[in-house]
Symmetry: C2
Subunit: 636 residues, 2 copies
């Protein structure tokens, strides 16, 4: 049966179920959605049960949209909205999406715009026929979020065509071929960096993550040129667990080489990923390195992104259904759960997981309706990989800052823009609020401000406590006045030259470039000052050398290599990691429900993957493996 | 550097080393061979050292051929040969191969044709410029061998073009890509049937075996449609360990779907494989089954065969060198040993192995210059898979035949045409010769005669003892007068109706069709008669049902299903298997030199593969695995 036949049959069934007063002009797939166009959207809106009934009958997720012919002209519609919504709602923006017939109203007080029991919302719909949604205006504007959304609006026709194409491919039906489920390790197994796996069934080829190993001397690419992967047109879907470059750094490359399917991720992952990929290109170009792809390829990723929140489920191929669950690692990070066949098999890819409530996120989810196999990270899977608790880490950071303040010195903290920065910000804000350290300025340099803005745009992805604090108590610690954005070279120079103590959070996290170097060059000679490492320093990085105690570092200052003497205090605060330590990994597995039959370990140095694989096998009598890159494991 | 450049460089080097009196007209690759054409072949022949010197310098296998311009016209050349060779040599045939400038002289007494110290041979060469070789005329003619050789002669130009193409691809040079070695299980893992593995390196894709599971209800094909295998044009070489259909039954299919590279095997494997593939087509058509390929595809296999004897080594891709070693299983069966890179890694695929001196073959080779990994069969790898010795099996067969003779009954032995038949023939011939059983006629029905003829065409592949018996003592037990070929329906009917006792060896071995059924239908009611199973009876076959003791069998007689009562004696003689039993497998591994780091088990029911894998791991502390089909293991 062709997709056309399927759609015709569906249209017939819909006609049979809805009253004759409701008009259906078109039925179309957009991705996994079944979209019904109608000239009478208000009548559909009035009978919510009808949609439920159809969804159940057709076993599809259904969206009803106004037929383009009944949409009020945008300029007139905007005027009508502003007339209906009271002034106190404080509308900051109105976005129309002609491709979907939706209008998004951004307001400072969304409640006032929605009206009692959605009264105003209904009035808007009936007046202009567009489907309205009201969102809270973000407290600080993220350039990335604005640009991504603006870009998507600007090419909405093309986007619609992309979704239709994906929808048609997705509904091609399953084959009669012999069933199998297997996974190929394409990168990031028995190593950290360039994470990439391929899930392959008789009907589907799915890439999970497509990272880059930025520390590699080669191109740092996973094995995406293998014959089982190529041509890239044969890949049905790419699923991204989170926005760190070792998980998504080479997604744009896929489009460069012919992939043109969807990328599934959470909305924050899409935006953070765009930020980090763009920055990667900028840094690579600045370092005179060959850039593997262009910003055009990054825009291609955005165009093909299908975002889903935690807990949302969608068909991504004829035989695979995807659900994202919170992974606790960074904003929007997720465990990708794949349901294969109708009850045939379930396999989840953990991505990077934190199984502890952090200052920002809830712990990683480890309860699933069903799960037979799980691929789990092993960054801290080694025998002795125990990390201090969040509480201990806080105490330690407090002591270090107190000490530095007493000496009237500066505190320089090299951080990764996404994740660690925001954790450290919250800890410092808390210490200041509780008067455990004096109120001092905390400067944010590099991409930290922008990454923080993206965090404030997605408060629903933060942990319960922080979300309550923000929504109920109206207190967002990330927006505290102690934080100051360094937004110009002049400002940076002024801070460097300042007499008074302060704290600076600056990228990059491992000191291989970035603004942190500017502060370091000037402050390292003075023993009053302190540098604090809060993140993992990889072998071969400048950060690792300094952390180890090197007291003289050759450094490039305006083209000359100068031997820099380090007199400043060098401290390390462990316990801020976004990865589960060994105890947390074992406890994550121990508390899994149901317990999977098979656990595959990756994302760790070889010895760590092998060690935790063998430990879990002995402890839980589970079939475990730590495959090498290029190996394929069969599940069914 | 292009292949043209490589050839030009080689030509220069050759010119630099040979005296000016020797002329070189062309230098070309044919497969792995470097072929030098000359108008003065006799001068080359006079200085054997020169070729050795060039081979060492160029690191290539070198063949010198007369330039076509100096070859004496075939008709005249034949007359001259007959004039030079004395009558007593008894020439039976002369074959010219214009593509290589070779002439093969088949004689009853090859020694007389060669002359003292090769005198006559030299004279022939100098007189006609063709390169002569003398072979012994086979004692019985094999239709298959004649047809295969005749076919190859008939398309020698095309064959030459094929070899050139393979040669050029083979000498493309290695890439700079990251090195890896891995193997994908495509069929015959945790099962018996459809054996197929892919060896994959950064520069090579090689299929080892491509069998069919004839017992399968589906198409019985290995997973050759996987994305890592396709398109078939990307396969560099196919290597066949032996001629049984579960190892080579689908090689013609590869050509049907676009493969056009070489098939490496021993000469007997090429001929037996052709016989069995042709028979497979015939039987499938007769049973009204869909045939997966045509005889044209089989001819394509022949055309692309590059045969090698045991111990010969050849480059098959830029980074892989292949050597065949005796596997002891059937005529021409071999262990395929792959040397990867220059000393990088060595891996061997056992195919089916018999680690015992049988009546026909030497035990499988288990000493190699180097070996890091080995893929080993597990047919009898189970905990209790012990088989009687060859001696015990002989005793048992003697008793059974004696018993039947006393009752004046017939003995019906269902056999596989290749391997088991010839073993049983030798045992019976021996029993008769030693007067342990009376001299009775032994009828061979089905393909047995033809398979036996192929055995007599390749005496150098038989074991030392049998070879000596044939060459030194002029006694070939396979040619004993007790064996009579059943070559017509009339003769078969006469044998069936005969009063006197006799032995019939008839195919098929598991009684799923074939002439054995005709004898069975008529003889099964009479309790004087005996049926003896000497081979493995697979689950679901008629043979298995009878062996188990079913006394009434529904059978198709001229279109009617009739319940056949079985009164004849049913006996089983274990110990004739061509597979190593558990003891032999363990002893094969124990005596391996050097001992490999990794052993992969396949070709056995799931429990047997798993059991022997775990036993060997514990016993020898070797890294073992029993992968599933569709899994990939990485070695380096």
């Amino acid at each position: 049966m062709t997709v056309e036949d399927v759609l015709r049959e569906i249209k017939g069934k819909i006609r049979g179920i809805i009253p004759p007063s409701i008009d259906v002009t078109e039925v179309e797939f957009e991705g996994a959605l079944l979209v019904i166009y109608t000239t009478t959207p208000d009548k559909f809106a009035d009978s919510k049960d009808l949609i439920k009934q159809m969804a159940k009958m057709l076993q599809k997720r259904i969206v009803v949209r106004p037929d383009p012919s009944v949409l009020t002209d945008i300029e007139i519609a905007e005027k009508k909205i502003r007339k209906i919504v009271p002034e106190e709602a404080d509308i900051t923006n109105i976005y129309f999406q002609p491709d979907t017939g939706e209008v998004t109203i951004e307001a400072m007080k969304p409640g006032a715009a929605i009206g009692k029991e959605g009264q105003l919302l209904n009035e808007i719909r009936k007046t202009i026929n567009w489907s309205p949604s009201i969102i809270r205006a973000p407290p600080i504007q993220s350039k990335t979020v604005q640009e991504v959304r603006g870009y998507l609006r600007s090419m909405s026709d093309e986007r619609k065509e992309i979704l239709r194409k994906i929808g048609r491919k997705l509904h091609r039906g399953v084959s009669d071929n012999e069933k199998f489920i297997r996974m190929t390790a394409l990168g990031g197994f028995r190593e950290v960096g360039r994470s990439c796996s391929m899930l392959h069934t008789q009907d589907s080829k799915i890439l999970i993550d497509c990272g880059i190993d930025v520390s590699s001397d080669n191109n740092g690419s996973p094995y995406i040129h293998l014959p089982e992967v190529l041509p890239l047109e044969t890949i049905d879907a790419v699923v991204i667990t989170h926005a760190h470059l070792d998980h998504c750094g080479l997604v744009p490359l896929l489009y460069k080489y012919g992939y043109d399917g969807p990328v599934y991720c959470t909305p924050p992952t899409r935006d953070l990923m765009t930020l980090l990929q763009m920055d990667y290109l900028k840094v690579a170009a600045a370092d005179g390195k060959k850039v593997p792809y262009s910003s055009e390829n990054i825009r291609n990723v955005i165009k093909h992104c299908i975002t889903m929140g935690y807990g949302d489920t969608t068909d991504i191929t004829p035989d695979i259904r995807l659900t994202f669950h919170n992974a606790g690692h960074i904003l929007g990070s997720s465990i990708a759960h794949f349901h294969v066949g109708e009850g045939l098999y379930n396999i989840a890819f953990s991505g990077d997981i934190k199984y502890e409530r952090t200052w920002l996120f809830n712990p990683a989810v480890n309860h699933f309706p069903r799960i037979e196999a799980m691929v789990v990270e092993s960054t801290y899977g080694g025998r002795d990989d125990y990390q201090p608790s969040r509480k201990e880490a806080t105490e330690r950071l407090k002591d270090v800052i107190q000490c530095a303040m007493k000496k009237k010195g500066k505190v320089l903290i090299p951080v990764f823009a996404v994740g660690r920065s925001q954790e450290v910000m919250i800890v410092i804000e808390n210490l200041v609020k509780n008067k455990e350290i004096p109120t001092i300025p905390v400067y944010l340099d590099g991409m930290i401000w922008e990454a923080t803005a993206i965090h404030t745009a997605y408060p629903e992805y933060l942990n319960n406590k922080l979300r309550n604090q923000i929504f109920q108590q109206g207190e967002n610690p990330l927006l505290s006045e102690i934080f100051k954005r360094v937004d110009s070279v002049e400002m940076r120079e002024k801070i460097i030259a300042e007499e008074d103590p302060c704290v600076v959070l600056a990228t990059s996290g491992m000191m291989n470039g970035g603004p942190v170097m500017e502060y370091f060059k000037e402050w390292s000679q003075d023993k009053k000052n302190t540098m604090v490492f809060v993140g993992y320093q990889a072998e071969g990085t400048l950060g690792r050398k300094i952390q180890r105690g090197n007291k003289e570092i050759p450094i490039n200052i305006s083209g000359n290599i100068v031997n820099l003497k380090i007199n400043m205090e060098i401290e390390t605060c462990d316990g801020f990691s976004g990865h589960s330590d060994r105890r947390q990994l074992l406890s994550f597995i121990n508390n899994m429900s149901p317990h999977p039959e098979r656990i595959i370990f990756g994302h760790g140095e070889e010895s760590k993957c092998l060690d935790i694989s063998s430990t879990v096998h002995k402890k839980f009598n589970t079939n475990t493996a730590a495959p090498m890159n290029l190996e394929t494991i069969r599940f069914l």
